[in-house]
Symmetry: C2
Subunit: 288 residues, 2 copies
C-alpha cells in the first residue's frame, strides 16, 4: 500500500471515531435530527479534508488532539454543504455515494435542519478547542466570500455560456476554499506562523483547483457506476465547467500543471511533505 | 416615552448601523446573496435580542464595542432561523413583517444559502471579537440541543394532540434558548463571572418562555393586520401551543407568573435592572 493510501486510511479511521463520539445518538432528543446528521456524516467518502488537516498539523510539529477537532469540524461542514447542495431547490440529487440523499431519506425539512446543525456544531467544536482564530478561518472559507459565494455564482451561471473567469471563481470558491482551509487549519492548530501557513494555503489552492477540474473531466468521461452519481449531469445542465470553456485536453494539462506546482511546494515542507506530494498526484490519477 | 421603549430604539439604531457595516453590498460578488442577506436582515423588527445583549453588557459594567459584535451576531442568527423557518418545506410562509419572505423574493435556493451565510457570518464576527467562549455559547443555543432541536420537535409534533411536556420542550428550545443566550452573551462579553451570568440566563428563560406563550395567545386573538402574518395559522396546523394544552386563561396566568419572576430577578441586577424589568412587562403587554 502506498504512503498516501495508508495515510488516508489512518486519517479516515481517526476522524470517524472522533465524529462518532461528537454526534449524539438517535436515543437523545431530537432523535431524528441526530439520525439524519449521522446518516450523512457517516456515509463514507475518502475524508480528504481531515487527512489534509492532519498532514499539515503533523508537518508543523503539532502535538496532542487539537487536529481531531479541526478534522471533525471540516468533515461536518463538508457534509453540511453536500446535504444542502443535494436539496430539490438546489442540485436536486437523489443519490450520493450510492445511497439516498439526506432529504430523500428524512424529508426536506429535516435535511435543511441537519445541514444547519452540522455547520453550527462544527463551529462549536472549534470553539471548544479554544481557538477563535480557527473559527474565523473556517467561517471565511465557508461564507459569502468562500464556498457559499461559489455555490451562488454556480447556480446563477447555469444556462449561460460558460466564461473562464467565472468558472475559475466558482471552482476556487466552491471547492478550493475549504481544501485550503483544511490545510491552513491543521497548521494553525499546530501553532504555525502565518508566514508558514501561506505555504499550505498555496498547496491547497493548487490541489483544490486541480481536484475540481478533474471532477469536471470525470463527469464527462466516467460511467455512472464508478462515480455513484449520474455521469454527464453537468453537461445536461450546462454547468460552468473547465472542459466546457477550454476543452478536455487543455483541462487535463491544467490539472497536471497544478499538481506539479503542488508537488514542488511539498519540497519546502517537513516530514509530511512526501505524503502531501503523493496526495496531490492521487487527485489527478483517481479517474484512471 | 418609557425607559424600555427608549432603550429598544437606541439599541435598534445601534445594531442596525453595525449590521449595515458588516454585510457587503450588492455590488460585491455574489451580489444576489448579499442582497438576500440584507433584505431579510434589514426588514425591521424590534431587535429584541440585541437590546437584551446590550442591556446585560451594560449592567455588568461592560465597556467598548464588544457588545456590538454580540448584538449583530444575534440578529444574524435570528434572521437565519426565520429565513429557513419560512421555507416551503418548513412553515411555508409567504409573508414576514408584511413583506414577501426571502424565498418568495429571491427563490428557494438563494433563501437556503442566505440563511446559511448569515449563520456562518455570525460565528465569524464573534470569532473576530476574539472570544471562542462566545462562539461556544451561541452555538450551543442554536444547535441540536438548542433552537434547532426545538424546531425539529415542533415539526414532528404537528398533527398529534399536544402534550405539555413537549410544548415546554419546544418553547424552551425554539425560543428561550436564543433569548437566554442574548443576555448571557452580553454578560460574557462584559467579562462577568459564570455565577453572575446565571442570573441573566434565568431572567432570559422566564421572558423567553413568556414571550412564546404570549405569541401562542396572540396567534389566536390578534388580527392578521396587527401581526403582519396569517393569524390563527397555528390552530389550523394543530401546532403544539400552550393554549392548546392548558387553555387561554391558564396560558395568560403562566405568562404573567413568568414575567413577575423575571421582574423579581431584576432587583438583583445593576443599573440596567429597571430597563430589563420594563422589557419583561412589555412582553406580556404587546398584545394589548
Amino acid at each position: 500500500m502506498s504512503l498516501s493510501n495508508e495515510f488516508l486510511l489512518d486519517s479516515k479511521r481517526r476522524v470517524e471515531s472522533v465524529l462518532d463520539r461528537l454526534i449524539p445518538g438517535p436515543e437523545k432528543r431530537p432523535g431524528n435530527l441526530h439520525e439524519a446528521m449521522r446518516y450523512s456524516l457517516m456515509a463514507g467518502g475518502k475524508r480528504l479534508r481531515p487527512a489534509l488537516c492532519y498532514a499539515a498539523f503533523e508537518d508543523c510539529g503539532g502535538q496532542g488532539d487539537a487536529a481531531d477537532f479541526g478534522a471533525a469540524a471540516l468533515e461536518m461542514v463538508h457534509t453540511f454543504s453536500l446535504i444542502h447542495d443535494d436539496l430539490p431547490c438546489m442540485d436536486d440529487d437523489d443519490f450520493r455515494r450510492g445511497m439516498p440523499t439526506c432529504h430523500k431519506k428524512f424529508g426536506e425539512a429535516m435535511a435543511v435542519l441537519a445541514g444547519d446543525a452540522l455547520s453550527i456544531l462544527a463551529f462549536q467544536i472549534l470553539a471548544q478547542a479554544g481557538s477563535a482564530e480557527a473559527v474565523d478561518l473556517l467561517a471565511r472559507a465557508l461564507g459569502s466570500d468562500g464556498m457559499l459565494g461559489g455555490q451562488v455564482v454556480d447556480i446563477e451561471s447555469e444556462g449561460s455560456p460558460p466564461v473562464l473567469e467565472v468558472v475559475e471563481y466558482i471552482h476556487i470558491h466552491k471547492t478550493s476554499a475549504l481544501i485550503e482551509a483544511s490545510l491552513e487549519l491543521g497548521a494553525l492548530l499546530a501553532g504555525a506562523s502565518s508566514e508558514r501557513r501561506t505555504l499550505y494555503r498555496e498547496y491547497g489552492r493548487c490541489i483544490g483547483l486541480a481536484f475540481q477540474i478533474v471532477d469536471d473531466i470525470l463527469d464527462i468521461e466516467a460511467s455512472t457506476e464508478t462515480l455513484g452519481k449520474d455521469a454527464g449531469s453537468d453537461q445536461e445542465r450546462q454547468k460552468a465547467t473547465w472542459p466546457a470553456v477550454v476543452g478536455l485536453e487543455k483541462s487535463k494539462a491544467e490539472a497536471a500543471r497544478l499538481v506539479s506546482r503542488a508537488v514542488e511546494l511539498c519540497s519546502q515542507m517537513g516530514s509530511r511533505g512526501p505524503v502531501l506530494a503523493e496526495l496531490a498526484r492521487f487527485i489527478v490519477e483517481r479517474g484512471n
